[in-house]
Structures are given as structure tokens and as C-alpha cells.
């Protein structure tokens, strides 16, 4: 599959390939630099800045020209995982601290680094990464902390598997517990914070969740930290082992269900950094939606959120595969291109290279895609990027659904369990030929509803670029 795709990309993209709509181009570092990109930001002057897992920070000069160059801003940071320009400083997470750094004399080299907060000792475990920071609307910097796996040579440390809030004066307050491998954190345009977590024990498959003060996200490892008085919320109980995920809340009242599940292999394996499309159309027709990097599949997937009964849920869509290496960071450049920071280290990747920095740009061609999927009391409403072949879209056999959910348990990952096949009773197309309302028998709250729209064509007879969608139906709207 991947091989076939790459072949197409090399031959010159055709209309049925992703590359026809979204072109990937590498930004090559100079020889000798290992660019395992672990953080991306764009400076106020439009120049991208990236940090790497080996602790270097580069400013990319001439990023929009034919020959970008990389200028070393600083090195010696310990596994920095995110960059955030704020107030004349660049905030950056390291393993052992949140730091901020700046160039004082304007030579594009760092002059000062200040330790903002180091209130969490670390144990010396490879997995002790910290992700972020994100500046929340409450004025605090939020980071998420990966839990350790294996040796802890300097002794067990608190606050792993947490979201931590850090005030500008450096005071740390743990905000959310029970995270596992929270490799992405970002602020939505409306101010809520979201994070991604990775499949493993107590995480049935990769997920995107809203970070809520005092929330518990299901992994019991870090709960012992909550006896520390800095944890001011309800102490999470040990989670039940082996129940369906939507049943956890029955015994863990602060448990937060994910906004979307990422069905394993179908939509990725290792979700990392993500951004909202704030490009106002410069990146194509998906304004306001999320783009999420996946390390294993070297891909970017798309999420369209849907608010039901005041809570977020939504659908995942395949978007762009075939990047050079595992995508762990995404960030906008100053012209609406999506910079993809890549590394395959530690977990492997379908990409052909060990690391890299690529830019995805919209070619201006609009792909025929499911733009959005919204829950209705009796089914779903789908919106498309182009006008539909009305006859085919109104045929119920053009649409096929499956549904399943996940177990919350200590085993590594969960199968898709309690499968069902909701049937499409009716399909009606809107007057503008861009929307379809599907009426289903067998909708189930708490289940992923997987859609295959293989029979759908646009008005000119073209197939969907991606005919699959995965909607996490936490709740069925009443109206």
C-alpha cells in the first residue's frame, strides 16, 4: 500500500492520489546535522524555528525560497519537545524543566536561558518526555508529562502522566492525572486545551481528549502523586479493569472520555502533535479542523469536531500518508504551509528516512472528501467538499457502517469489541448537493461508528479521495 503510494508520488501525482492535492517537500538541513524535529514554531518575523531530540534549536532562513538554511540558535537542551514564543522569549520544555530563552543582541544566537520551573525531579528514564508548553487562557503554561517505562535509575519520581500548569512565576500546579504517553498538546481557537495519548496499557487505542481541571484520563500509574497537597482535586480511585471505556465513569467520576478514538492501524498508530487549521483557507477547504501527525504511519490525519450536548466528539479522516518519516510535530509556517517534524527513533515508522522536516502545501486543487460528519438523533449528517452525484448519494447501499468500542484494561491496547452493523434506512441529499442526511438503525452511544462510503461519486463521477470516516459517538443528540 505504502509502496504503491510512493510510486505514484514519484511518477507525478494523479487526481486519485493525495499528493495531487497536498504536496510534500523536504527542508534539508546541512550535512552532519541530525534533524529529529521535536518542536516547531514560527517566529513573529515568519521564520520557522525547530528544536530536535538531540537538543539543538535552529532558525530556518529562507524557508520559503529554493535553498532554506538552518542556523543554530542553541544546543545542549535535554530532549526539548516543544517551542512557544511569548513576550520576547521562546518557552521550551526539557526533560527536567520548563525554560525560556532569548537572543538579547540580535545575532540569532541564544544568549540567555532561564529555568522557569523544575518542580518535577526525573528518574532518568528514556520515556520521561514533557510535551508542550501551551499558554492557556488562564495565563499558565501547560505541559503534559510522559510516564516512565522500565528502569528508573535515580528513583521513582512524582508527576509523571500528568498535565501540569505552570504560572509565569514558576509555580507548578498539577491539573490532570492518569495520562500515559501524551505526545501532543494544543490550545483550540476557543481556548480549550486538548491532548493526544498513545495506545498501550489502560489506553485501548490512540485518543484525543479535552484537558479538564482535575480530570482523570485512565492510567493508574501516577495516582500515587495525588497524595501530595499540590494536587487539589479529587483523588482518582484505581480504575476498573476490563470494563467498556464508557463505563469507567461509573466508578471513576472524574474520568474523561476521549473526544475521538483513533482506530488502530486504520487511522494511525501513534498520534503526536496537532494543530487547528487557522489558515483561513490557505491550506485548503478544511478551515477550523484539526491536523494530527502520526509517527508510525508517517502520516497526517484530520479530525472534524462536533459538539453534542455541550461536549466535544467527532470524526477522524485519513488525510495524507507517505511522508518521509514519523510525523511527531506539525506547525503552520507563515504562508499556510503545514511543517511536519519527523523522527522514527524509538518506535519505528513506515517512512523511508530516519528523520526530517517537510512542508505540506495545498496545491489549490480541492480533493473530493467528506468535509464533516455530524451526529443527529437518528443518524449522521455528512458534508462534502464538492457537489454529489445525487442518485448515488441517495442510494442506501452506497453507505456502510460498523460500530465497536474499546475495553479499559491493564492489557496493552484493546481489540475493537462488541461489534455491530448499524444499517442505513434512508439517505437524503440537500438542495445544494453537498450534504447527505443518513438515517440509521442501531446507533449506539459510546461506540465508534466506522463509515465506508465507497459507492459515493461527485457530480462528475469521481470517487472520494478517502471514503472512510470514524466517528466517536460518545453521545447521541436529543434534538
Amino acid at each position: 500500500m505504502i509502496a504503491l503510494f510512493l510510486t505514484l508520488a514519484l511518477q507525478g501525482a494523479t487526481r486519485d492520489s493525495e499528493a495531487f492535492y497536498y504536496r510534500a517537500e523536504p527542508l534539508e538541513p546541512p550535512p552532519g546535522v541530525v534533524l529529529e524535529v521535536s518542536g516547531i514554531t514560527t517566529l513573529p518575523d515568519g521564520r520557522p524555528m525547530v528544536c530536535t531530540r538531540r537538543g539543538q534549536v535552529f532558525i530556518v532562513e529562507d524557508a520559503y525560497g529554493a535553498h532554506p538554511s538552518f542556523e543554530l540558535f542553541v544546543e545542549g537542551l535535554q530532549e526539548p519537545m516543544g517551542l512557544l514564543p511569548h513576550d520576547g522569549w521562546i518557552y521550551v520544555t526539557q526533560r527536567g524543566e520548563l525554560s525560556r530563552m532569548r537572543d538579547v543582541d540580535g545575532d540569532d544566537r541564544m544568549d540567555e536561558l532561564e529555568t522557569v520551573c523544575d518542580a518535577w525531579p526525573i528518574s532518568g528514564n528514556y520515556h520521561e518526555y514533557n510535551f508542550g508548553p501551551v499558554l492557556a487562557d488562564d495565563g499558565n503554561f501547560w505541559i503534559t508529562t510522559n510516564k516512565p517505562f522500565g528502569d528508573e535509575p535515580f528513583g521513582r519520581a512524582k508527576w509523571r502522566g500528568f498535565a501540569l500548569g505552570i504560572s509565569p512565576d514558576g509555580t507548578m500546579k498539577p491539573m490532570c492525572a492518569g495520562l500515559r504517553s501524551p505526545a501532543g498538546i494544543a490550545k483550540s481557537p476557543w481556548g480549550e486545551l486538548f491532548y493526544t495519548d498513545n495506545q498501550g496499557e489502560w489506553v485501548g487505542t490512540g485518543k484525543l481528549s479535552v484537558l479538564v481541571d482535575g480530570g482523570f484520563y485512565g492510567h493508574p500509574w501516577g495516582i500515587f502523586s495525588c497524595t501530595d497537597p499540590r494536587w487539589t482535586y479529587e483523588r482518582p480511585p484505581e480504575p476498573p479493569n476490563g470494563v467498556k471505556c464508557f463505563e469507567v465513569r461509573e466508578t471513576c467520576p472524574t474520568y474523561e472520555l476521549p473526544v475521538v478514538w483513533f482506530p488502530y492501524d486504520k487511522t494511525g498508530r501513534s498520534q503526536c502533535g496537532f494543530v487547528w487549521d487557522t489558515t483561513d483557507g490557505k491550506f485548503g477547504p478544511f478551515a477550523g479542523q484539526l491536523f494530527i501527525g502520526d509517527q508510525y504511519q508517517a502520516s497526517v490525519v484530520r479530525v472534524a469536531l462536533d459538539q453534542v450536548e455541550g461536549r466535544w466528539q467527532g470524526a477522524v479522516f485519513p488525510f495524507r500518508k507517505g511522508l518521509a518519516s514519523g510525523v511527531i510535530r506539525v506547525g503552520w509556517d507563515a504562508r499556510g504551509g503545514l511543517l511536519c517534524g519527523e523522527t522514527d527513533r524509538g518506535w519505528g515508522s513506515l517512512g523511508t528516512k530516519p528523520w526530517g522536516l517537510e512542508r505540506l502545501t495545498w496545491t489549490g486543487e480541492t480533493p473530493f472528501e467528506i468535509l464533516a460528519m455530524r451526529a443527529r438523533p437518528d443518524g449522521f449528517e455528512l458534508e462534502f467538499t464538492r457537489e454529489l452525484d445525487v442518485e448515488l448519494a441517495a442510494t442506501v447501499s452506497s453507505w456502510r457502517f460498523e460500530s465497536y468500542t474499546y475495553l479499559h484494561h491493564e492489557n496493552y491496547g484493546s481489540d475493537e469489541v462488541d461489534r455491530g452493523t448499524p444499517s442505513v434506512r434512508a439517505a437524503s441529499v440537500s438542495d445544494d448537493r453537498r450534504r447527505v442526511k443518513l438515517t440509521l438503525d442501531g446507533l449506539r452511544a459510546g461506540y465508534v461508528h466506522e463509515l465506508h462510503a465507497d459507492g459515493v461519486r461527485d457530480a462528475l463521477g469521481a470517487k472520494l479521495l478517502h471514503a472512510d470516516a470514524y466517528y466517536t459517538l460518545n453521545a447521541i443528540p436529543r434534538r
Binding site: 544546543e75 545542549g76 544568549d111 536561558l113 532518568g124 535515580f154
Partner: protein
């Protein structure tokens, strides 16, 4: 096919010096004259060690050897001590001596040795390249060696023996005994003339196999792989498994079959397999070697796949262009414990993919000739009589042997026999009861000439003559030329090879000439070279031999006396700014030394000429100056460039903007630079990335954050261009270690999910006290706190980069903010690290102290240095009285004096650590 080679083996020297007394003196030493004719200033010349001779050597060889040493080994130094005995008594004496000698460690294991074709070929190539040939003569012609054995017809593969300076080893040694001797010749030949060539066990075994090939009776080509089985636990695969004993050998169709062999151990075993594969289409062949645990594959003697180390089943592949014809495969495989797997596949240019088994792979089966004699049984009575003879015949004089008494009176010492040197051993027809040496008339003349010098001590001790004697005695002349004598000759030249295509011409093949070597090299360096610890020309296939110390120990001083008039090397004070100019001159914008020379292991851009990081240890500064000014003046006119050009009647440098383009001053700067040795910062223009994990320090300091063993998981390593590096524990605000040389290679932190604990990777590592740097003490003698910094109230504040890119660490203790800049100073010979501190407080501070140094037994010297077992420390500024700490583990503290500076109080001080 095999050229026959004639060699004159009876002369002492490959090139005779004109002075016959020199040859005579060498003969006297080799013959061991001194062992009977004691001389005041001369040491004994021990003959080969015989304590275990019965285990090592064939009894039939001992018999033949005693009957006539000269016939078995023409030109031997061993005299015939039985020559004048009547026939029957002579036979009886030989028999008794053989029984006695065999009783020393015997009996000899008569089991025939096993032979492996791959080893035979490897030994053939090694014998002719590592340095055996210059002394012992080649056994095959250079052109023939270019063709591997398996491309020869079976019957011509065993080259006939040609005349060498030793008897056929197959008649004398078992292969493994010969291999042991080749590996450590000095253990058996304490006189030290047979040198070590630093052979590893596999190499020694291969050469021994080759030299013993006359014991191979037949070669048959058979399908399948030949294996050798080792029942021993290894953690690494190597050719021959370090010379471990082979438990058995045999044939299998495919590699995997060795795991099915009955009777092998469950775990803890190893196999070596060899075979020949026929390549039909020249082209790229892909090999895939799968194993659990480790394995390696060699093709035509070159390591192609390294799948080494204990591991679960793992496949490693490599692609290789192979010519049409046969190629030799060799696989070494070991199993420590757990699962077991082994397999080898290839893919041919036609795309065929298959396991390499007997349909493709053949091997040579070499069958040893059966040993004729029944096992030798020692007759105790004969052996006892042999012991008496060993003393009475004077054998024990040269071959000292426990349990043998020397009953003979000593004859006159060497200085007295000079006047009647036509009698005794030196008579044209020696009388009965004196050992009979294989001296012809000319040799006797040489010996007499040498003895004649006993009356001319001045000439006898002439340094020039002494050097000639020593070089002849160890046969240095076989490889090295000095004063017009010696060096590779026509017969041996072709056997000197370059290991890599060094593009150095003959300098890349031949050992260097020794003319003027005493003016070039330091005595200490020459001593290192002679002891086998100084290899400066890794591209030469011929290895520098290591002789017994007694043979060569005088040479370095004699060279210095002759070539440098005994003068000590010039002493030059270090000048840092000049050294920096030298660094610039070495780089691409200067004289571009980097084009040819390596710098402390960082490779040159071009040919692999000597590493300039080693110059200061090797080269005398005067010679360096001469070489740079005019390479011809020191005889180096081949590859070394002459930089200077004539301009208006004087020589000027093409580098105009440094030191007024004055060649002399630029040479001075270059010397200053190279005098830093291991501390040399790299010149500009070198390509420094060795591997993607290597953090090479160029012009700017390099920084890496790591987990650090014994400190904290939040430690910053700083690599400085001065090649002295530090580790600073950010968590505990504490300098933890410093080291020199190699900075950091990140596999331990960055390879996969490594995330390991790092340690200093270079050399001259010193570790600092894992304690807070500052403490508030009520009394000067209060014990220093041992709580780590963070727990003692220290807070990390971050760091700044100074104008030179060096980190200034910032931390706080309470309301005192501290800045610490640690930086090395360039310093020839030692490492120096400055530590500059600035402390600021919003109030007056009293009682704060800095710990200068700690350790078990601290010493103070007159310069204000305090030292522990690893390093020294002193206060540079301001002047302050250090205090001795009161704890049992001693430490030196320095009071920190704050002064008012506007609204705050400030203290500044600087200390220096050196080691």
C-alpha cells in the same frame, strides 16, 4: 606455477658492513661465547628455553638436530658438541639426550594436527606481508601470491618448500605449539632475537598452518562446509576464536546443520565454518547471515557481515561485488545461552535466492600425513644419563635447566683469549671436547677481529660501531636503512605492502630509514616504539617487531648521542596566542596541513600522513623546524611540501596575513600549536563528523544534555575546543567531572531507546566532590555538607552563553545568586580548568565558603596548590587564605568575601584546577 627461490642463509647479515669486527661481535653474541668465556661487562646470552621442550618438539627432530645442527639448520649458532665422540658413543649420547629432553614436559602428542584451507591461505598471505620475509625469506613469489590457493590446481596448491632460515616446521612442531611460539616468541627464546609481531591467536595459527603444510598428505575437494567445533563460551565471534582448542571438525551440507550435530553442548559453544563458493556471473551479490547468538562472515578474508554479540535471532545483510570464479567464505558463530539459530543465504545478480549449502559450497579437505613413529616412551635410565651428559657436554651453559648441574671448569674470559684466538673453538680444526661451531674461515676471521678489539676499548665502545652491531644483531637492517646499510633489498622489496592505498609511494610500503633518527625522535618515543607501544604508520603491512629488551635497549640513547650530539631537545616556553596562529596556519586558510595530516584521530582530507596530535610526543622541535623550513635538509623530500616561495631574494610564506609571512615565525607558531598534543583544538576545514552520533568539537564549545552516571539525570556536558571537557550537574548545581581528548559520542543516549547513563568518554578523567560548591558554615572547621545541591537548597536558574559560546551556569542558594563559568586553558602536557564565580546578594553575607578541593590525603605546595590523588587546585584571585576543613575526609575551603556594589553585595573569585 611456484617460482623457486634461492636464498643464501649462511651469512649473518643481509648486507655486510665493511668492518668485519661488527659481524664478529654479532657472531660472538649469537654463539653465546660469553656463557662459557665470562666477560666483565657482558650479560649471558640465554639459548632457547627447554623446560617443556618434550611437549613441544618431535623426538625425531631432536634426534636429527643433535646429530648435526648444521645440517638441519645451516648457519645455526648452535654448536655440535658431540662431533668428536666416536661413532657408537655418539649414537648412545644422542639417544640419552633425546630421552632426557623428551622427559622435560613430554611425551609429545603424536596426534596429527588438523588443517583448514582458509587458515592455510590466510597464513600464506600473512607470512608474506607482516614481516617474516625480511629475515626468513619468502616461500612463494609475489605474483603467485596474488592468486588464492583455490584457484590453483589441487596438486600445485602446496607450494614446495624453499630454502629458509629454519628447518621444515612440520618435522619439528605441532601446529598449535608452533602457533603459540609465533605468538610469544620471547617466552621460548629469551635471547630475544626472534621478535614478536603482535600476532593475535588466529593469525599465529594461520601462519603456523601455512608453515607446516608439508604435513598435508592430500587435498580433496568435497561438497559442503568444513566446520570446526569449540566447546567454550564466547561473547564475540572471531576468526579461530582466539586460538581456543578445537574439539572436533567435520563436514555439513548447510550451516544450520551444525546445530543438529549429536554430542554438542547445550549452550556455550562455537563453530567456525569455511567453504568455497563458485560465482558464475560477476556482479553484486547479497548475503544475509542470520543467527542467535552472534556471527560474522568473511569473504576472501575480508569481514563482510558483522552480526556479532549475544542476541535473539537477527539477520544482517551486505551487498558485495564478486568477480566470476571461486570465493572463500568463512563464518564464525557462537552460542552463549537460550535459543539457537544459524543460516546464510545469498542472492545472485540473476536474482536467485538460496541458502548456501552443499549444492553451491565446497571445501578443501586437507588430510594430514600420518605420523609414522609409535608414541615415544621415555626410558627413565636413559633420561637420567642424558641429564648427566647435558651438564657434562656444556649444554647447560647456554640452555639453563633446572636440575642440571654444570660440572665443568670455566675457560678463560673473552678479553684474555684474544691473544690466542686461533685455538680452541676458533682453531681451524678444533680439538676434542670443545663445541664445534659452523664457522668457516671468514667467520673465524670476523670473530677474531672482534676479539681483537678487546685491546682497544675506545673503538669497542664507539657509539657508531655499537649501533652497527645492535642493528646487525637484531637484523633491523632487513627493513631499515642507516648509513648506507640495510633496507629492503631486491629479494624482499616486493613483499612490503601497504595495508590501505595510502598514496604515499614507497613511504607507504617500506619501514622508514633510520638516518638521523636520533635527531628527529625523542628518546622516550623510540623506547616506546621498540617496546611495541608506538605505532605511527598503521598503513604499513609489515609490523614493527618487538625484540627482547636486551637486544635494543641501548639504541635510543645511542641514536641521540650520534645524531643529536647527546643534546637534550630544545625547551620552548608555551605561548598561547602563537599557538592559536599555528592552529590557523594548519587549517584550510593557512598552509593546509589538514590536506595530508590527521589531528588526534580526525582524518585528513587526503592521504593518511602521520597524526600531528602525536608530534610533540615523538618529534624534537629542532628537527620539526628543519623539516618545515626545508624538507630536503632532513631527507624528507618525497611527500612533504615545501611551502615557502622566493620573493625579492628572500623566502616568504604564501600565507601573507599571519606573522608577516615570515617562514621562521610561522614554523614557530606551528610548533606552539602541535606542542599542545592531545589538547590541540582542531584546525579549520577538517570534515569532523565521524558517525551520526559523534559530537565533534570544532571552533565553538558543544553542549549535550544527558543522564549522568552517579550525578543526576539532568546533566550538561560541555565540550571545549581546547579538548578538555566538563560535566555540570544542572539538578544539583555542581561540577561533577572533567576529562580530555574525546568529547562525546551519543549512542548511549540517542541510539533507539538507549537513554542510558553517560560517563566521561575521553581520558585523564577527574571527578569532583559530589557536594554543594558553597556552604554557610558557622565555624571554619565545621564538616562540609554532603546533601546534594537541590536538597541542600540550591535552585537552578538557567545559563547564559558568553561571547565565546561558553555556558555560564546560574544557580541560587537562598537569596545569593551565583554565576559559574568553567573553561579550560590551553596548556601543553597537562590540563587546566579555570572556574570563575560571581556571587550577588541583596544583603551582607558572612560565613559563606567555597570548597576548593577534597580528598583523603591532601597536600599543599609552595605555589598555593592543594592536591588530592587526582588533581590540584589553587585560588587564582583574589588572594585569600585557604582553610583546612575539619572533617575526617579532608577538604580545603575558601572564605567568600562580599563587597558592597550599589544596592547589592558582590563577590568575585577564580580558582584553577589542573591535572
Amino acid at each position: 606455477m611456484i617460482a623457486s627461490l634461492a636464498l643464501c642463509v649462511s651469512s649473518v647479515l643481509p648486507a655486510e658492513p665493511s668492518d668485519p669486527s661488527v659481524a664478529g661481535e654479532v657472531r660472538i653474541a649469537r654463539a653465546g661465547c660469553i656463557n662459557c668465556h665470562a666477560g666483565a661487562s657482558m650479560a649471558r646470552e640465554p639459548a632457547p628455553e627447554l623446560g617443556q621442550v618434550g611437549r613441544r618438539l618431535e623426538p625425531s627432530f631432536l634426534r636429527a638436530w643433535l646429530a648435526s645442527p648444521e645440517r638441519v639448520k645451516p648457519g645455526t649458532a648452535m654448536p655440535d658438541v658431540l662431533a668428536t665422540l666416536p661413532g657408537a658413543e655418539r649414537e648412545g649420547a644422542i639417544d640419552e639426550l633425546v630421552h632426557f629432553l623428551v622427559s622435560r614436559g613430554g611425551p609429545f602428542d603424536a596426534e596429527p594436527s588438523s588443517f583448514d584451507a582458509a587458515e592455510l591461505e590466510r597464513g600464506r598471505q600473512l607470512y608474506h606481508s607482516v614481516g617474516c620475509v625480511p629475515c626468513h625469506a619468502p616461500q612463494e613469489a609475489v605474483d603467485d601470491l596474488a592468486v588464492p590457493l583455490w584457484d590453483l590446481a589441487l596438486d600445485s596448491a602446496l607450494a614446495p618448500h624453499v630454502a629458509t632460515s629454519f628447518p621444515d616446521p612440520a618435522r619439528k612442531w605441532r601446529v598449535d605449539e608452533l602457533a603459540a611460539f609465533l605468538r610469544e616468541p620471547l617466552a621460548l627464546h629469551p635471547a630475544g632475537r626472534m621478535p614478536s609481531l603482535a600476532l593475535d591467536a588466529g593469525e599465529a595459527r594461520a601462519i603456523a598452518t601455512y608453515l607446516s603444510r608439508s604435513a598435508i598428505a592430500a587435498i580433496v575437494e568435497e561438497p559442503g562446509w568444513r566446520f570446526e567445533y569449540f566447546e567454550q563460551s564466547f561473547a564475540h565471534a572471531s576468526r579461530g576464536f582466539d586460538g581456543a582448542p578445537r574439539v572436533r571438525s567435520g563436514v555439513v551440507a548447510g550451516l544450520e546443520e551444525v546445530l543438529e550435530l549429536p554430542g554438542r553442548a547445550e549452550d556455550g559453544f562455537a563453530f567456525q565454518l569455511s567453504g568455497l563458493v563458485e560465482v558464475v556471473d560477476a556482479g553484486l551479490h547479497r548475503f544475509a547471515l542470520r543467527s542467535d547468538d552472534g556471527s560474522k562472515l568473511w569473504i576472501d578474508g575480508k569481514l563482510v557481515i558483522d552480526n556479532d554479540g549475544p542476541h535473539a535471532p537477527e539477520t544482517k545483510s551486505a551487498e558485495l561485488w564478486l568477480a566470476k570464479g571461486r570465493h572463500e567464505l568463512c563464518v564464525a558463530y557462537f552460542e552463549i545461552a537460550g535459543g539457537q539459530e544459524l543460516g546464510l543465504k545469498w542472492k545472485t545478480p540473476r536474482g536467485e535466492e538460496e541458502s548456501l549449502s552443499s549444492s553451491r559450497v565446497a571445501h578443501w579437505s586437507l588430510s594430514p600425513a600420518p605420523r609414522s613413529a609409535a608414541p615415544f616412551a621415555v626410558d627413565a635410565a636413559k633420561a637420567e644419563r642424558g641429564r648427566a651428559r647435558f651438564g657434562a657436554l656444556g649444554c647447560v651453559r647456554c640452555h639453563e635447566l633446572e636440575g642440571v648441574v654444570d660440572p665443568l671448569p670455566k675457560p678463560g674470559d673473552l678479553s684474555r683469549i684474544a691473544t690466542h684466538a686461533d685455538r680452541g673453538c676458533l682453531a681451524d680444526l678444533p680439538p676434542a671436547n670443545v663445541p664445534r661451531y659452523a664457522f668457516d674461515a671468514a667467520a673465524r676471521g670476523e670473530v677474531r677481529a672482534a676479539l681483537g678489539l678487546c685491546g682497544d676499548p675506545q673503538r669497542a665502545h664507539d657509539a657508531h660501531r655499537r649501533v652497527a652491531v645492535l642493528l646487525a644483531d637484531a637484523n633491523c637492517y632487513a627493513c631499515h636503512r642507516r648509513d648506507g646499510v640495510g633496507g629492503p633489498d631486491e629479494a624482499t622489496q616486493g613483499y612490503f605492502e601497504a595495508l590501505v592505498d595510502a598514496d604515499l609511494g614507497n613511504e607507504g610500503r617500506f619501514p622508514p630509514a633510520l638516518d638521523g633518527v636520533g635527531a628527529k625522535l625523542h628518546v622516550a618515543w623510540l623506547e616506546k616504539v621498540l617496546a611495541g607501544r608506538g605505532v605511527e604508520r598503521p598503513y604499513l603491512a609489515a609490523r614493527m617487531p618487538v625484540f627482547g629488551e636486551r637486544r635494543v635497549i641501548e639504541l635510543p640513547r645511542l641514536f641521540a648521542e650520534l645524531d643529536a650530539g647527546g643534546a637534550e631537545p630544545k625547551s620552548i616556553a608555551f605561548d598561547e596566542p602563537l599557538a592559536e596562529l599555528g592552529r590557523q596556519l594548519a587549517g584550510d586558510k593557512g598552509l593546509a596541513c589538514i590536506q595530508c595530516h590527521s589531528f588526534n584521530g580526525t582524518r585528513s582530507l587526503g592521504i593518511p600522513a602521520v597524526d600531528l596530535g602525536h608530534v610533540v610526543e615523538r618529534i624534537r622541535p629542532e628537527w620539526f623546524e628543519k623539516l618545515l623550513y626545508d624538507p630536503k635538509s632532513v631527507g624528507m623530500n618525497s611527500r612533504m611540501s615545501t611551502f615557502w616561495v622566493e620573493d625579492a631574494g628572500k623566502l616568504v610564506s604564501p600565507v601573507k596575513d599571519v606573522l608577516d609571512a615570515d617562514p621562521r615565525r610561522q614554523i614557530e607558531a606551528l610548533w606552539q600549536y602541535v606542542s599542545l598534543g592531545r589538547a590541540m583544538p582542531l584546525p579549520d576545514g577538517l570534515v569532523v563528523s565521524k558517525s551520526e552520533y559523534e559530537v565533534e568539537v570544532g571552533r565553538e564549545p558543544r553542549m549535550v544534555g544527558v543522564f549522568f552516571d552517579g550525578a543526576s539525570p539532568r546533566t550538561m556536558l560541555v565540550g571545549f575546543p581546547e579538548r578538555t571537557h566538563i560535566a555540570f550537574d544542572v539538578e544539583h548545581s555542581c561540577l561533577v567531572a572533567a576529562w580530555r581528548g574525546h568529547f562525546f559520542s551519543g549512542e548511549g543516549t540517542w541510539l533507539g531507546r538507549a537513554g542510558g547513563l553517560e560517563k566521561p568518554q575521553g581520558e585523564s578523567v577527574i571527578e569532583f566532590e559530589r557536594a554543594p560548591p558553597f556552604a554557610m558554615l558557622a565555624n571554619a572547621t565545621d564538616p562540609w555538607p554532603t546533601t546534594p545541591g537541590r536538597d541542600a537548597g540550591y535552585r537552578a536558574l538557567g545559563w547564559k552563553r558568553d561571547a565565546r559560546g561558553r555556558p555560564i551556569f546560574r544557580y541560587a542558594l537562598g537569596d545569593i545568586e551565583i554565576e559559574e563559568l568553567d573553561y579550560p586553558l590551553l596548556s601543553p602536557g597537562s590540563a587546566r580548568l579555570r572556574r570563575a564565580f560571581t556571587l550577588r546578594a541583596p544583603r551582607a553575607v558572612d560565613g559563606l565558603r567555597f570548597q576548593l578541593i577534597a580528598g583523603e590525603s591532601l597536600m599543599a605546595d609552595a605555589n598555593g596548590n592543594y592536591s588530592n590523588a587526582s588533581h590540584r587546585a589553587r585560588v587564582v584571585a583574589p588572594e585569600v587564605d585557604a582553610e583546612w576543613g575539619g572533617s575526617t575526609r579532608g577538604d580545603i575551603r575558601v572564605p567568600v568575601r562580599f563587597e558592597r556594589d550599589g544596592a547589592e553585595y558582590v563577590a568575585r573569585f577564580e580558582v584553577e584546577v589542573s591535572w
